[in-house]
Symmetry: C2
Subunit: 152 residues, 2 copies
């Protein structure tokens, strides 16, 4: 019995996020906050041609906006975004850390006003491109572990 499970369907239209840090694909999905009705493939700890491992995300019939693409940089700064149309890569760019992130993240400071059940949207500001450091715009608390700050 020869296995039939070698291929993922070719993407004719959609988005491929490549060079995601290994094991980080799930966090990327969480920051994107996409509904789970999309057709997608997630490769985790895939062997990279350059050696080492990486994750890859492919979305069929779904084009990531520049704003969404930049959210990817929060989790995996080296990721590249490929937009596929008619089976070809028509656009390829790097995710760029957004200057300001509204919603999506939760402040780790329990006393922050954004955690007091007020009708406030969380906001974080990029303070240093190096290491992608963000602080809360309300209480100045810096994000230490971003994965733990992604809103459920």
């Amino acid at each position: 019995m020869v296995q039939k499970y070698m291929k993922v369907e070719r993407i004719d239209h959609g988005t491929v996020i490549d060079h995601i840090l290994p094991s980080k694909a799930f966090e990327v999905l969480r920051v994107l906050g996409l509904s789970n009705d999309k057709t997608m493939s997630i490769l985790v700890n895939s062997h990279s041609k350059k050696g080492g491992k990486k994750d890859i995300l492919k979305f069929e019939d779904f084009e990531l906006s520049a704003g969404e693409a930049n959210l990817v940089a929060l989790v995996s700064p080296q990721a590249t975004i490929n937009i596929i149309v008619d089976g070809e890569v028509v656009r390829k760019f790097n995710a760029e850390a957004p200057k300001v992130v509204r919603g999506i993240l939760t402040c780790s400071n329990p006393n922050c006003i954004s955690n007091q059940n007020e009708p406030i949207t969380t906001e974080f500001t990029l303070v240093s491109d190096e290491g992608h450091r963000y602080i809360c715009s309300y209480c100045d608390r810096e994000i230490v572990d971003l994965a733990k700050c992604i809103s459920a």
Copy 2:
């Protein structure tokens, strides 16, 4: 620029869980509770040859035990498990709903003794194969929404 992202690497050794209900692959991963250092591919809402959609999980160099395979049935009873060795399917079987589930699930009854910070392992018993109904072995509370009862 022709896209290079059409294939997932062939699995020579490993496990393929096929015919998972659409959008349920993430829940299957949660009940299996595997560490995230594995090389795996997750296909979500993939187009099935028989029409409709399904999810598929592929683990490289990792053979699911019969006990683990049965946990898959908690989330997706129709799933089939394929064990791949040297590129061929050497074993193919259906996940069977386990009679008893220890750990993994949390009782939804806040007053259940298993939720009182006692050193107790949760336990659920299969009471009906139809619809895979489970009740808590301690307080008899039936699981209504299994996805919500999977331990974090």
